[in-house]
């Protein structure tokens, strides 16, 4: 019964992207205790108001009926007054005319004609506990006829206060009758005016009933009790003895009873419906408020979950940003170091070149007669060569340039490299270059750098001495140039990382040589392969395309 509007609008976009994010909250959870409680409270409140309102309506209904009942009683009272007047008129006529039968007859005729009574008579105490009829007018009252016992009892009650008395309902010849009597003052023996009416099933016409009961249902009893035998008058279909209110009223000297029921709501329609309105209104309000609270609760839960998720994302983003920034700073620093390295390298190349020239000139002047001089010169040349290689690697690494291809004679470049980097003592060098090798297509300076790196690595791999073989072969339009050593080989775990910058297994060196060599060879469209022969040495092979032109034409 709770509307769940969140179902259609909830969107946890991006939530699945984060593996560590808590799962999105269930959207179709149980109704919260708070909203359920609110609903019950409000519904109960509505019901309570409806109940009390119903009681108020009932009370009002009863009060209205009571009021109407009093009014109806007053009407009967009025009828009683008219009856009394008629009886008194008879009494006065008898007194004034000294019991003139003719005068009485005309008076009684008028009373009967006005339908106040069915018959009228002058009755007198017969001195034997009974009454006899002196004169009579109307049906059912014969002169000198005996009067029934209930009538006699009533006649005995009539006093000198002028009030008329009424008989209970009595039955003569199967006909229900009712009588009224008033004492004629000043006559002896007791003489009274007696009126009598026959009660039919409906003693009065509907219009008369209407006049009496208006729009109500009810009954009138002779006497002060509800007694079907004493029923004088009732509206059709009125359940005798089941009326909602009972009102006694005065009729002459006696008290009669009026019983009434409302056959339609006396309270206005809208007012009568108030309890239902309260009940329905209360229920609606309860549903609305509870639904609202439920929706708000779910919204809040959803919002909280969302905030948590977004906070997590934000935190991760911040962490990513932080890492990225640090990487940027790192890269910036690396770039600065690269710039510095290349600037330093550039500045060092000239002096190194000059030093190399100086050694060359010195060697030319001093000759090689003196082994001591020769040794110093060789050491100087070797160290200049090593420094030059380091500078060249640094420059090539920090500012790589595209190769400028030319045809390079393999034997010449090998000789040049071996001249610049002669083997240290204890290391033999074997040149095994195939005859009729075509030139390589390469950037001469870069190829020289590659070879210098491979040769210098080979020397470093054999500190105890050994054999370095430089081999060159022609294979399928390419030239394979291999530098092999008889050193300790390359460890298995080092092999895959060999061409990474700054990766080195040597105690000295910055670990750029092979990485730069690899990059240069790849830029040539060739390949550089490393092989390890267990613990007995390693070999590096540069494969580059060969030139189609004859070797003789190259410089």
């Amino acid at each position: 019964m709770m509307p769940d509007s969140l179902d259609s609008t909830t969107d946890f976009g991006g939530g699945a992207a984060a593996p560590d994010a808590s799962p999105p909250p269930r959207r179709r959870g149980p109704v919260r205790l708070l909203s359920a409680g609110l609903f019950l409270l409000l519904a109960a409140g509505g019901g309570g108001i409806a109940l009390s309102s119903r009681r108020v309506v009932k009370d009002q209904e009863k009060r209205l009926l009571q009021q109407r009942s009093t009014e109806v009683g007053a009407l009967f009272n009025l009828s009683g007054a008219r009856l009394q007047e008629a009886l008194h008129t008879g009494s006065t006529v008898v007194t004034l005319t000294h019991d003139d039968a003719g005068a009485f007859a005309s008076t009684a005729q008028a009373a009967v004609a006005s339908r106040l009574v069915g018959a009228m008579a002058v009755v007198q105490d017969d001195g034997q506990g009974g009454y006899r009829v002196l004169h009579s007018q109307g049906p059912g009252l014969a002169p000198d006829g005996p009067l029934p016992e209930p009538v006699v009892a009533a006649l005995a009650r009539a006093g000198s206060d002028g009030q008329f008395v009424s008989t209970p309902v009595f039955v003569v010849d199967g006909q229900r009758r009712l009588g009224y009597a008033v004492l004629i003052p000043g006559l002896t023996p007791r003489t009274l005016i007696y009126g009598q009416s026959a009660l039919t099933q409906s003693t009065t016409s509907p219009s008369r009933q209407n006049q009496l009961f208006s729009d109500l249902d009810g009954a009138v009893y002779a006497g002060s009790r509800v007694d079907p035998a004493q029923l004088v008058l009732s509206t059709p279909r009125f359940p005798i003895g089941k009326g909602q209110v009972r009102t006694p009223f005065k009729l002459g000297a006696d008290t009669w009873l009026l019983e009434l029921s409302a056959n339609h709501p006396l309270v206005s329609t809208l007012a009568a419906r108030q309890p239902w309105l309260y009940l329905i209104g209360g229920l609606l309000a309860a549903i609305l408020v509870a639904a609202l609270v439920e929706v708000l609760l779910r919204r809040r839960q959803f919002a909280l979950a969302l905030v948590e998720e977004r906070t997590g994302q934000l935190r991760r983003s911040l962490a990513d940003l932080d890492a990225a920034q640090q990487q940027l700073v790192h890269q910036e620093r690396l770039a600065a170091i690269g710039q510095l390295a290349s600037a330093v390298g550039h500045e060092l190349r000239n002096p190194l070149g000059v030093l190399g020239n100086v050694f060359y000139l010195l060697r030319g002047r001093l000759g090689s007669d003196d082994p001591w001089v020769e040794r110093q010169l060789a050491t100087g040349e070797r160290e200049v060569g090593a420094a030059t290689l380091i500078v060249s690697d640094l420059l090539e690494f920090s500012r790589p340039r595209q190769p400028v291809m030319e045809d390079v004679d393999v034997a010449a470049i090998v000789d040049e490299v071996l001249a610049v980097a002669p083997p240290p003592s204890g290391i033999e060098v074997a040149r095994r270059l195939a005859p009729d090798l075509p030139p390589m297509r390469a950037d001469r300076s870069q190829l020289r750098q590659v070879l210098l790196n491979l040769v210098s690595n080979a020397y470093d791999a054999m500190p105890e001495g050994g054999l370095m073989v430089v081999e060159a072969d022609q294979v399928d339009g390419c030239v394979d140039l291999t530098v092999a050593d008889t050193g300790g080989g390359i460890a298995d775990d080092a092999l895959p990382r060999l061409f990474e910058p700054f990766f080195t297994t040597k105690a000295k060196g910055i670990g750029l040589g092979l990485s730069v060599a690899h990059r240069i060879v790849e830029a040539h469209g060739g390949s550089l392969e490393a092989r390890s022969r267990g613990g007995t040495g390693a070999s590096f092979t540069v494969t580059l395309p060969s030139a189609a032109v004859p070797a003789a034409t190259i410089q």
Partner: protein
Amino acid sequence: MLVVDDELGMRETVADILSGMGYDVTTAIDGDDALTQLRKETYSVVLMDIRMPGRDGISILREIGPPPPPVVLMTAYAGDDELRAAAEAGSYTVLHKPVPAGRLLDVVARAIAA
């Protein structure tokens, strides 16, 4: 032949190496100096640094001639653009410093023969 380099050490040692081999060597300290020398005399080979104060080797190369002598450019570092420009301007070859003396003499001999 003419050796052009703003660096004293490089200029002197290269000149010494070449003259040691019997070549007749003149030196110039920068581009303008080189142009002055080239207008005065005819050289069989010019060895010239690329990066120099004032006018660089490549722009001098463009002004030499006709007929131009073979010009061997030398550089401590040259980017791809400079190398391309040197080739387009008609240099004989570009040597990357440091140039071993043997290689230098070899290239000079080839350039003279060309």
